[in-house]
Amino acid sequence: MLQERVNNGYILDAVQLTRSFGGLKAVDRVDFFIRDKEIAGLIGPNGAGKTTLFNLFTGHYQPTEGDIYLHNEKIGGLKPHQITAKGIARTFQNIRLFGGMSVLDNVLIGGHSRTSTGLLGAIFQNSKDRKEEKEARENALFLLSFVGLETKKDELSRNLAYGEQRRLEIARALAADPKLLLLDEPAAGMNPQETNNLMQLISRIRDKMEKTILLIEHDMRVVMGISERIAVLNYGKKIAEGSPQEIQRNETVIEAYLGVSA
């Protein structure tokens, strides 16, 4: 059974994934997969284990049990920077930009794993290093224009408006040229206009850049609007999975959100 799942051609495949904190199982034997080029959603009430699951995928937490495969390659146990190099990039629920650095530098840092200039390269700057830096800058500027921030490239990232910071985080993650992009509540705190722009942006990232996207989101309009498949977590367990229409009709999901009717 396990072998079958692993060779299924999923971009990401988690098998019986468990993460305990002391006695609490924040993620409890979750089976989860993402298909190539799909926009998948992950929802659940507060404290359901969504962000923990994200942190397991990105290596910020190590699984207590179970395995994670990226393109059939086991990534459970790797460090975050190694997983980024393998092709998973993320944004954070509470925005974590490099506030004291320019917008452009933030995106350049995102490209860290796709560049290689080391200490000696930095000091001597031979033609290869200069070329790499130039290309990294061009790519960063392209990504900034993709998310609509090209005019803000020289500003300190902490001085951007909230919605702009969210978009910058996405551009920064894209600079790592990930196969899989994880978005942790990208619409949180956005006004309806910003949310609409965000939904368009996410669709464009999938269609134009051909990325696979997994998002955690509380804004049901966003999740139901752009996800092709949704998984629902509650108390660390996956309680449902399916198309947005199926999830909206699912009794267990409705119970988890609204409580059991008397």
């Binding site: 980024t84 954070f92 004291g100 350049l108």
Partner: protein, 294 residues
Amino acid sequence: MFSAYYLQIMILVGINIIMATSLNLITGFTGQLSIGHAAFMSLGAYAAALATLKLGLPFFASLLFGALLAAVFGVLIGIPTLKLKGDYLAIATLGFGEIVRIVFLNLKITGGAVGLRGIPKSTTLLWVIIAAILTIFILNRILRSRVGRALIAIREDETAAESMGINTTYFKILAFGVGAFFAGLGGGLFSHYFQYIHPGSFGFLRSIEHLCMVVLGGMGSMWGSIIGAAALTAIPEFLRASADYRQLFYGAILVLMMRIRPEGIIGERRSRRKPPQSKDKKLGKINIFKVIGR
């Protein structure tokens, strides 16, 4: 050209610029609070002096030897202290500094408490200027590259930096190694100017002095460290006129400066692409508390 007195001040300014800018790489740019910078300086000073005295190496080779040895210890201190942050790291680097001092105090080859005498006076003002410019040039190149961005990213947000694919462990060790290299260079210049070194030359207070230069000048600012080093070397000399109150004035300047401008003389102006927004004082600050982790 200059009187011996002014020459000595200028040489000290140059050496302190090397010390402050290299400490700034570790503390100001990478955000790793270190109060053991004098230990790296002493390693370079002793190693270079011994290379000259015992091995008969030429001056330049001795300097390089001292700097490299200090860099090795910079890497070695980096490894066990990696997991430490803020004030915990500060205490660990302080402990390292004391260990180095006490080892030099007890080793035969370093002359114990008496120290090393008769080191040839090879350091000239020209050497110091070349070394200082080279230090600033190399540090600037590092800081404006992929490597420098990684270091600053670690200071700004270590978790996010890791998510960007930055091997934070490696880059923190690298910062300590490079910072220690130049501190060792400064030490070698020091021992070959004063011709006499002893463990007391590189005590805890000297590390604090280096940190003061960085903080006063502005953490994360190359010009800040240069100005901070020059100011804190020259001011005590100008205050010699009022010999009795000298230390008092010196201390008062530090207190006032931190009260009025905690971001330092040139706080924040570390990027050549400084946007107009960062002139906003409230937003443009990097203050010491952020680095300490409070």
